[in-house]
Amino acid sequence: MRDVLLSMAAALAAGAACAQPAAPAAAAPAAPDAARQQQLVRMVRQDCGSCHGMRLTGGLGPALTREALADKPVGSMAATIFHGRPGTPMPGWRAMLSEAEARWIAERLVQGLPEASPERSVAR
């Protein structure tokens, strides 16, 4: 079952890559700025956290810790974040993220997501 899902995700990733002409490196969308990065980290911990755990140790969704993602290609992870994974509860987050932001999140996850800044200082 898991193999099937992985290959589905890979196919999705490949499909996404094919569907869009490869952009020249210079025109690649910019990485999110510092404030947006903070928002994204918070979003991953808090909102992705409702299925993957606030500490990303998994739940209804799989663990997203650095250890758990060691052998996962960033490209297919970014595609899963952006497009979702059919047949599973993983939704596509395209309504809330750009593709560049999805890729940024995938890269951070592989490296180990930083802690969110303290809740209180964000909210107050």
């Binding site: 755990g53 606030m54 500490r55 998994g58 509860p89 939704p91 809740e119 209180r120």
Partner: protein
């Protein structure tokens, strides 16, 4: 017991200290010690637990202990681990909260004493639990390893471990665990499309009744307030499943099949929760998956009665204890709102914005107020359910689940 002994000791100390001062001094020392003891003896006894509750501080791994009459935070108990998605059940006397943490910890917290009285790491990843009708057993539902573990509520000793298995023998994640009359628990298997009833009367050899092929990916479930029906929501297809537990040979029955009418569902950013009171009178109010709708079903005929359009994808759909209102909160990006459905007219009569990222709601025991947690506002709002006025706003760090001790007296909570 401690109070008079303490007073007596102080009385004796007073006597010793005053011994050299003559009879008068000694007498007055006795008199004052006696007065103190008398005053303490007539002090009101320790307060009851009926208006206590807890609010989960998900980021800090702590519980705030609250009083629902005073609308105050009394104190907090920390060190509870990863409380993202934590849930709580209560002992019958309402004094002990059993807290199920995401990290697999089961912790018992005594509310009057405000301290941890027991803790076991029982799984790698847990999602909630239940307490038996007689209060003697606590069951945890686990994702990793998938299954249910049953503990002695007094000692927190493991009594039995019931693995949840798919047809191929792999472990399945367990969802929708609830207590049933007679030391039984019911639950659903997300990965195995099954519903199980475990009879734990003899905790050392549980008896299992299993229904397979109930529908794809049950994600959560509830037991109706009378303990008669178990309703499981399906993620993998349009529809829900109901089991009439009063039936001589209970069997799953599909309801609201195809409620999405083949339309493409919206992306589901947060799974709805079914546990909580979604039953108002003879009607059950249920969240539609991937739709901005609350479904209303008649619990006599199980026919769809109505759909109420709402402001987002519902997460919790909870009836006020009298069933006159149903309160709904939503998945992101609409989770700054709460809506109130008037059940006689089945219309939304109020939309509130109590603070960013509303995660949970809990009614006071008789429903005159509802407590609402707003994670990103670090606030719990207490709202009057008749006037919709905000009665209090409590400062709580990243609040999520709110649980009041009145749950102790109810089946399925």
């Amino acid at each position: 017991m401690n109070v008079p002994r303490d007073a007596r000791r102080r009385g004796l100390l007073g006597l010793g200290a005053l011994a050299g001062l003559g009879a008068l001094g000694t007498l007055s020392g006795c008199a004052s010690a006696g007065a103190t003891a008398a005053a303490r003896a007539t002090a009101p006894p320790q307060a009851g637990t009926g208006d206590l509750g807890v609010v989960v501080q998900r980021a800090r791994g702590a519980l705030s202990i609250v009083n629902t009459t005073q609308r105050t935070v009394l104190g907090e108990v920390g060190g509870l681990g990863d409380l993202s998605h934590a849930s709580v059940v209560f002992s019958r006397d309402g004094a002990d909260a059993f807290v199920f943490g995401r990290d697999g910890a089961l912790t018992r917290v005594n509310l009057p004493a405000r301290r941890v009285t027991g803790r076991v790491m029982q799984a790698g990843n847990s999602i909630g639990g239940a307490i038996s009708q007689d209060g003697s057993l606590v069951a945890a539902q686990n994702y990793t390893p998938g299954g249910v573990k049953v503990f002695d509520a007094a000692s927190l000793q493991l009594l039995c471990d019931i693995p949840a298995l798919t047809a191929s023998g792999a472990r399945s994640r367990v969802v929708g665990l609830a207590d049933l009359p007679g030391r039984r628990f019911v639950y659903s298997l997300f990965d195995a499309d099954a519903i199980c009833i475990a009879d734990v009367s003899d905790a050392r050899s549980p008896k299992l009744l299993r229904f397979d092929g109930i529908g794809r990916q049950p994600y959560d479930a509830l037991v109706t307030p009378n303990g008669r029906h178990y309703i499981a929501g399906l993620f993998g297809e349009d529809g829900l499943v109901v089991v009439d537990l009063w039936d001589e040979t209970p069997r799953p029955r599909r309801i609201l099949a195809g409620y999405g009418r083949g339309e493409q569902p919206l992306p589901v950013y947060k799974m709805p929760h079914l546990r909580g009171w979604a039953v108002a009178g003879r009607h059950a109010y249920l969240p539609a998956i991937g739709r901005h709708e609350v479904l209303v079903v008649d619990t006599e005929s199980w026919a769809e009665v109505a759909r109420v359009p709402v402001a987002g994808q519902p997460v919790f759909v909870m009836a006020r204890p009298d069933g006159r209102q149903v309160w709904v909160n939503f998945a992101l990006p609409d989770y700054h709102r709460v809506q109130v459905i008037d059940t006689p007219s089945r219309r939304v009569v109020r939309t509130l914005e109590p603070g960013a990222a509303v995660l949970h709601m809990e009614f006071t025991p008789r429903g005159e107020a509802v407590w609402i947690s707003s994670r990103d506002a670090n606030r719990v709002s207490v709202v009057d359910t008749a006037s919709f006025a905000t009665l209090a706003a409590l400062d709580v760090d990243a609040p999520s689940g709110i649980f009041f001790t009145a749950r102790a007296a109810r089946v399925g909570l």
